[in-house]
């Protein structure tokens, strides 16, 4: 938020906001324009509060709260205001109640330096994280591949981010570039939030799509938006790993995920990135029946087996077979089992190179990297690359002899798909989403909990050239779904008015 607001700005800002919602609540542009010239702000506010009182619905209370507070409300705040409005005795009394209900929120966390713009009946896509940060792994890759295609096809939509986690706003030009023109070498890569006069955005009766997993701070506001605002909320559902595999993630992740689910249950539709992920979200949707909630419709829309458009192809340059392990460094990805299998095979005298790619918490990568360093001193060809740019990763996929990804739980498994798209066979897990990808060929499926199975699989691909040829032939025969296919499918799904 700008650090300076002129003393006389608040009444003007409030008036603009009240006029904006007046148009929605009375559903009459002309009346709002006429009122703008004549009525006092107090009269306008009394009119909209009285209207919200007469309508008696949560949507009106949600909208009135948002306009007065300069922040999206949480569920209990919507309910409290709706009840206060219903108990009020007149339009002025309703407005007084609305002021009382929003007073502390407006002053403690409200955004007050800009006008709000109501978006009505539009398609609105939340790209908050991708807009603000340079990070670009699985989820961010999906967002950028999808949104950039929609923009180039001139799909009508508005992109939004969050202003101080309080209310949605339009993107700064630099943020738009970071989402839509990620590969543009000339764009500004500074992550510091800029001071700007972009409008705050209040969606109403919109198709809202949430393609990212939101920060915990906004989950309650999203729950209220999904439950009360009248917007139709669609979500890209990645997985339920923090819940289903809570034993593999930090406890804090599971707590955050539970907050996230509190908003998922009020959403309308979830587009899950694999059949396995769809199963997890359907399970959750059926569970909330115990709370008397319908839960979202869940659709399977699998991610593609494709490489990002900007990635170049590379010829294999490695003289020694390269075994590639890609993924953030965490217990769930099972990097330890791969290192164990590699150690056994090096001891057997097999000659190959092992490269790990992926960042992770230093408490995990530190000890692992020290072990890798000790193995290198013994003469083994192993390294862990923690910061790899897209072009380097593309070169590694194309150069690798095999990719190994025996993850214990995935929503999809982009490293499997990207390796196959680069023509490189994959050793991966024999269940869940990775097994789905592998079912079309090019993969050797193993039980990731069985160290012997991983070792045997790696030995087989390193020693049986005919088998490797058969895997490569399977890859050539695969019918590859592309990012363009995925982007089309998601757009059509979000726009669809029919239950699917």
């Amino acid at each position: 938020m700008s650090s300076h607001i002129p003393d006389d700005a608040f009444p003007d800002i409030l008036r603009q906001r009240v006029l904006a919602i007046h148009e929605v609540l009375f559903d009459d542009t002309e009346a709002a324009e006429a009122q703008e010239l004549t009525a006092s702000t107090a009269s306008l506010l009394a009119a909209v509060a009285g209207r919200a009182r007469a309508l008696g619905d949560s949507r009106s209370a949600w909208l009135l709260f948002t306009a007065l507070a300069g922040a999206l409300p949480e569920p209990d705040e919507v309910l409290a205001l709706r009840r206060r409005l219903q108990l009020s005795s007149s339009a002025e009394d309703a407005a007084t109640e609305a002021l009382a209900a929003t007073r502390s929120i407006a002053s403690v966390r409200g955004v007050w330096n800009r006008r709000i713009r109501i978006l009505r009946g539009k398609t609105v896509v939340d790209v908050n994280f991708c807009a603000k940060f340079e990070h670009n792994t699985g989820i961010q890759r999906l967002v950028r591949e999808t949104i950039s295609r929609w923009v180039s096809l001139e799909k009508g939509m508005d992109l939004v981010a969050w202003d101080h986690d309080q209310i949605t706003r339009a993107l700064h030009p630099g943020e738009f570039e970071r989402v839509v023109h990620w590969s543009n070498p000339g764009r500004n890569r500074s992550e510091v939030e800029e001071e700007s006069d972009v409008d705050l955005i209040v969606p109403i009766d919109c198709d809202m799509l949430f393609v990212e997993v939101p920060p915990e701070a906004v989950c309650a506001r999203l729950a209220a938006l999904a439950e009360f605002s009248g917007n139709r909320v669609s979500i890209v559902g990645y997985d339920a790993i923090p819940l289903v595999s809570a034993d593999l993630v930090p406890a804090r992740e599971s707590e955050r995920f539970a907050r996230y689910l509190a908003y998922v249950k009020h959403s309308d539709r979830v587009f899950a990135i694999s059949a396995a992920a769809a199963g997890e979200f359907r399970g959750f949707a059926s569970a909330v029946a115990a709370q008397g909630i319908t839960g979202p419709q869940v659709f399977e829309l699998s991610l593609p087996v494709d490489l990002p458009e900007i990635w170049e192809t590379h010829d294999s340059l490695a003289a020694t077979p390269l075994v590639l392990s890609v993924g953030s460094h965490e217990p769930r990805k099972n990097q330890e089992a791969v290192l164990f299998a590699a150690g056994r095979l090096w001891d057997e005298g097999l000659d190959f190179q092992l490269i790990y790619v992926g960042r992770g918490d230093s408490s995990l990568t530190g000890p692992f990297d020290r072990r890798v360093a000790r193995l290198r001193k013994k003469g083994h060809r192993v390294e862990a690359r923690r910061s790899v740019r897209d072009q380097e990763l593309s070169a590694l996929y194309h150069s690798a002899y095999v990719t190994i990804f025996p993850s214990l739980h995935e929503g999809y498994g982009l490293p499997v798909a990207e390796s196959l798209a680069a023509g490189t066979p994959v050793i991966t897990s024999d269940f869940g989403s990775t097994a789905e990808i592998g079912a079309d060929g090019g993969c050797l499926l193993v039980d990731p909990r069985d160290d012997d199975a991983i070792t045997n699989a790696l030995r087989r691909v390193l020693t049986d050239s005919k088998y490797m040829d058969s895997l490569r032939n399977q890859i050539e025969k695969r019918k590859h779904r592309t990012w363009a296919d995925y982007a089309d499918g998601l757009w059509n799904g979000v726009q669809s008015r029919e239950a699917q």
């Binding site: 608040f10 107090a42 966390r109 986690d165």
Partner: protein, 96 residues
């Protein structure tokens, strides 16, 4: 309307009806003025604090804003600079 004692007092200068009671609309206009005064003063104070803390380089702006909101909601009112700085130091220590 805020009186010298800081209490909300709508009777001091609010237009009155012939019966001597302030009209409902006039009363509401006073409520609104009071609300705007409170919100604007509190918001400006909050922004000054955010600017001050950012200028001291304690936290990056985005993180700062998130944590400031947490702090504000914990105490239920606009905290002093000293209170915020104390809490931010505690948060930094707990992060490490």
């Amino acid at each position: 309307m805020i009186s010298n004692t800081g209490r909300h007092d709508v009777t001091q200068s609010t237009p009155r009806t012939l019966s001597g009671r302030p009209s409902e609309q006039a009363q509401f206009e006073a409520e609104l003025a009071s609300w705007l005064d409170f919100v604007s003063r509190a918001t400006r104070k909050r922004l000054r604090l955010e600017k001050l803390i950012t200028a001291r380089g304690i936290l990056k702006p985005v993180t700062l804003a998130q944590r400031f909101v947490i702090k504000s909601r914990e105490v239920g009112f606009i905290p002093t600079v000293k209170l915020v700085n104390t809490r931010l130091r505690q948060m930094k220590q707990s992060d490490q």
